[in-house]
Symmetry: C2
Subunit: 240 residues, 2 copies
C-alpha cells in the first residue's frame, strides 16, 4: 500500500510521471475504475464515508485500503472539498493507437475542466482515442480526473502525440471561420479532429497539417463557444 | 467610487444582492462591459497592468478608476490568479422577458463554470433570455462571470423564474431518455428549454410542466454529457 506522503506527492505532475500513478476521487469515479478493471493501488476513506457508502466498499474486495481521519483526507486530497474516498491508480501504458479508428487531437488545450468534459464527450460519441500536444494539460491532473467523472477508464488510447503520427487521416480542424459542419461530407474516411487552445485556437504549426477547417454556424451574436461545447457539436454531426 | 472594503464584500452573494453590484475581471470581459454600455461603477488595476494594456485603459474614459498594488488586487479579486484589472458593475434590472422569443430555464444548475458556458453558448445560438430556479447558482457569482467571458453584457433577460411564468411556451426538457433531437419538429412554435442539474437532471416538480423530453442519441458508451455540452447540441439542432 502506498504511503500518505506518496499520495500527496501525486498532486504534482512530476511525481505522477515518476511513480506512474494518479489520484481518483469520489465513489462514482472509483466505481468506474473498478468496473473497468483499472489497476488501483490503494484506497483511502473516512469512517464517516464508510458508514454512508457500504456498497462501494464491498466492491473494493481485495484492493488494499485504509481508514483515515477527515483531517488526513483533506491533506491527501488535491480538492478543496474532498469527497471522503480517494484512490491511487496506475497510469495505463498504451500500445500505439488503432489507425483504423477516428481520433481527436488536442492542440494545447489547457483548462482542466475543459479536458475532463472533452473526455466524457468523446466517449459519448464513440471516440475513444485522444492524443494531445506536449503543451496541453496533463490528463492525469486531479482537476481533469474529477471533471472527467470516470471517463479515463473507458478510453482505449490517451497519449502525447505529434501531428506527424496521424498521417493517413483526413485532418479536420475546428475553427469558427471553417466550412459549416452542415455541409461537410466525411463519407467513410477515417478522420482526426484537431481542437485548439481556449485562448488562441489552433496553433500555426498544426494549421499546416489540416485538410479542412470546420466550424459551427453562429446564429446569434455570441463571441465564442467553449472548446468542449464546440467539440460536442462537431462530434454530434460527424458521427451522425 | 466604491471602497476596497465594499469590493471585497461583493465576493459574497448576500452583499451582491444588497448592493446590487458584481465584480468583473480581466480586460476581455471589462471591454465587453464597456462596449455594451453596462453600468460600471469603478475600476481597479495595477501599475504593471496599465503599462502592458494601454488600450483598455483609454476605453475607460470617464469611469472612476484607481491604481492599486498587486497585493491589494489579490485581496480585491475573488480569483486565485487575478488578472490585474477588476471592475464593479451594477446588476441590471430587467423588465419581464419577451414572450415572443424562446427562453432557456435552468433547473438547479449549480456549477459556476457550467453556468458561464451556458450563457456563452446560448448567445452563440441567438437565445438571449435565461431564467433560473431559486436553487440555481447565482449568475453574478465571480466564477460564473469569469467563465461567461462577457456574455452577461449581451443577454437581454436573466432572472429567477418559476415554471408557471412560462405558460404558453412549448416546454422541452433535456433528458438522455428523451426523444432523439433528430426527430423533433418544432416548426415555428416558441419553446422553452429546461436544463436540469448536473447531479440529478430535471427535478420532479419541473417534470410535470414538460411537453416533450428531448435527448441526444448516444453513439459510444460514455456515461453522460456535461450540461453545457448537451445544451449546445440541443440548441444547434433547435436553431437550425
Amino acid at each position: 500500500m502506498i504511503s500518505q506522503k506518496q499520495v500527496k506527492s501525486l498532486h504534482l505532475r512530476k511525481y505522477r510521471s515518476l511513480n506512474n500513478q494518479f489520484i481518483v476521487e469520489g465513489s462514482r469515479s472509483i466505481s468506474s475504475a473498478i468496473d473497468a478493471k483499472a489497476r488501483i493501488d490503494s484506497v483511502f476513506y473516512t469512517l464517516d464515508f464508510s458508514k454512508k457508502n457500504p456498497t462501494i466498499l464491498e466492491k473494493l474486495n481485495k484492493i488494499p485500503s485504509g481508514i483515515v481521519s477527515s483531517k488526513e483526507i483533506r491533506k491527501l486530497s488535491p480538492s478543496t472539498n474532498p469527497s471522503g474516498i480517494l484512490a491511487t491508480c496506475k497510469i495505463p501504458k498504451f500500445e500505439s493507437f488503432n489507425k483504423n479508428k477516428n481520433i481527436i487531437f488536442l492542440d494545447n488545450v489547457s483548462d482542466p475542466g475543459n479536458l475532463g468534459t472533452i473526455l466524457r464527450t468523446a466517449l459519448w460519441f464513440g471516440i475513444d482515442q485522444i492524443g494531445y500536444s506536449s503543451k496541453s494539460i496533463d490528463p492525469y491532473n486531479p482537476k481533469v480526473v474529477r471533471s472527467a467523472m470516470g471517463a479515463h477508464f473507458s478510453i482505449s488510447w490517451l497519449g502525447e502525440l505529434s501531428l506527424d503520427d496521424i498521417k493517413g487521416y483526413k485532418i479536420l480542424g475546428a475553427d469558427h471561420r471553417g466550412k459549416s459542419i452542415h455541409t461537410i461530407n466525411i463519407d467513410n474516411q477515417r478522420w482526426a479532429l484537431i481542437m485548439g487552445s481556449e485562448a488562441r485556437g489552433i496553433s500555426k504549426s498544426a494549421h499546416s497539417h489540416i485538410d479542412e477547417l470546420i466550424g459551427i454556424p453562429k446564429v446569434g451574436d455570441g463571441e465564442s463557444l467553449n472548446v468542449g461545447v464546440s467539440m460536442g457539436i462537431l462530434l454530434h454531426e460527424l458521427t451522425k
